[in-house]
């Protein structure tokens, strides 16, 4: 599949687990970023990135800040963003949805949930 993913997480373990899961789903084109600021730099440097999977709690620039920054930029306004985080409090989820993430997954995630959410987002976007 030609879609290129940007996986954003300060935990190297999580980046690797998400990347492995994407490869298992047939998505081989993956770029990684260690925080929101790094993610914005990777997005600016690579026009072929078409899907962002981001953690929330990260140093420098959080996943929520990244989402808000992307939605404020016409270039990334419609780009799919999937939040994968430990934050499971209702208020947090609503805040993320209001910041316009396309969907939300709680850690620990299963490959079935990841596939389901990616498919839902792509179906909605296309």
């Amino acid at each position: 599949m030609s879609m290129k993913f940007l996986v954003v997480d300060d935990s190297g373990t999580m980046r690797r687990i998400v990347a492995n899961s994407l490869k298992n789903l047939g998505y081989d084109s993956i770029v990684e970023a260690v925080d929101g600021k790094d993610a914005l730099a990777k997005l600016a440097a690579d026009d072929t990135i078409s899907f962002v999977i981001t953690d929330w709690n990260m140093p420098v620039f959080t996943g929520l800040e990244l989402t808000k920054a992307m939605r404020a930029d016409a270039k990334y306004m419609k780009m799919p963003i999937l939040m994968v985080t430990t934050r499971g409090i209702k208020e947090d989820i609503i805040e993320a949805l209001q910041a316009k993430v396309n969907n939300y997954i709680i850690k620990p995630f299963t490959p079935q949930i990841l596939k389901e959410k990616i498919d839902q987002i792509l179906a909605h976007v296309q």
Binding site: D10, W56, G88, F109
Partner: protein, 255 residues
């Protein structure tokens, strides 16, 4: 009149006597109070010293927690590396076995041709049959290959279980933050005791903050919960939010 004055005088003397008797009783109590006050000084000094000592040890405790986080991250990386090696080996073995099946198919074709050619030579035909029976059959290779998806799933599940490292590291970061908050309070307490001239009582400070500070890189409520309850709640919220968005879009069309 004199009699009345005398009786009043005796009453006063009796009161004074009672006062002295009471005084005799109260002196030891006052003495013990003074002794207690004298003992309290070193005790307070000890408490102050203990707090200072505990406060000094806190950075070591947070360092140890940080070491645990680093060690588990390193161990997790090693496990992930090994799982990758196993997965690659499995893929290589599977490819080799599939090549073997292809080779066996070619050998079978040759066997069929040789059987026809050696039809006039029963001895050679029998030897060829024995040779073919001694070979690995395609079925047995197929039986081995069918275990591969299960083994691959199991190795992938090991990878997924390692999400626990990220979650526990956030829990440990939360504990570190809590310890540091306690350290701040203890340090303030020591300052208050040292500065105290007993002019005014030290006011209690704000409660120790158990929640994540602004910009925290951890979730204080992180938990390794594999039940689907929380994800179900999220799915409901996402669905409601999407429905709300759709309604907004419909409303825009009619406005």
């Amino acid at each position: 009149m004199k009699n009345i004055n005398m009786s009043q005088l005796f009453e006063k003397l009796s009161d004074i006597k009672a006062l002295f008797q009471y005084g005799q009783k109260i002196v030891p109590v006052l003495q013990s109070l003074v002794d207690f006050m004298q003992d309290t000084g070193p005790l307070l000094e000890n408490i102050n010293h203990s707090i200072a000592e505990s406060t000094a040890k806190i950075p070591r405790a947070t360092d140890q927690i940080s070491n645990v986080t680093n060690a588990t991250e390193l161990a997790t990386t090693e496990i992930l590396d090994l799982v990758d090696v196993i997965s690659n080996s499995l893929n290589n073995i599977e490819s080799l076995l599939k090549e073997l099946i292809s080779t066996e198919n070619k050998k079978n074709e040759i066997y069929e041709k040789l059987s026809i050619l050696l039809a006039g030579n029963p001895e050679a035909g029998e030897l060829l049959k024995q040779y073919n029976e001694a070979n690995i059959t395609i079925d047995s290779i197929g039986n081995i290959i069918q275990y591969f998806p299960k083994i691959k799933d199991d190795t992938y599940n090991i990878t997924l279980s390692l999400q626990v490292q990220d979650i526990t590291s956030q829990q440990l970061a939360s504990v570190t933050h809590l310890i540091e908050s306690v350290q701040d309070r203890l340090a303030k307490l020591i300052r208050d005791i040292d500065d105290a001239d007993l002019k005014s009582p030290a006011l209690p400070g704000p409660p120790v903050n158990f929640t994540a500070p602004e910009g925290a890189t951890f979730d204080p409520n992180a938990s390794y919960d594999k039940s689907s309850d929380r994800q179900d709640m999220i799915n409901d919220l996402v669905q409601k939010e999407n429905m709300k968005a759709s309604q907004d879009e419909i409303d825009k069309l009619f406005s």
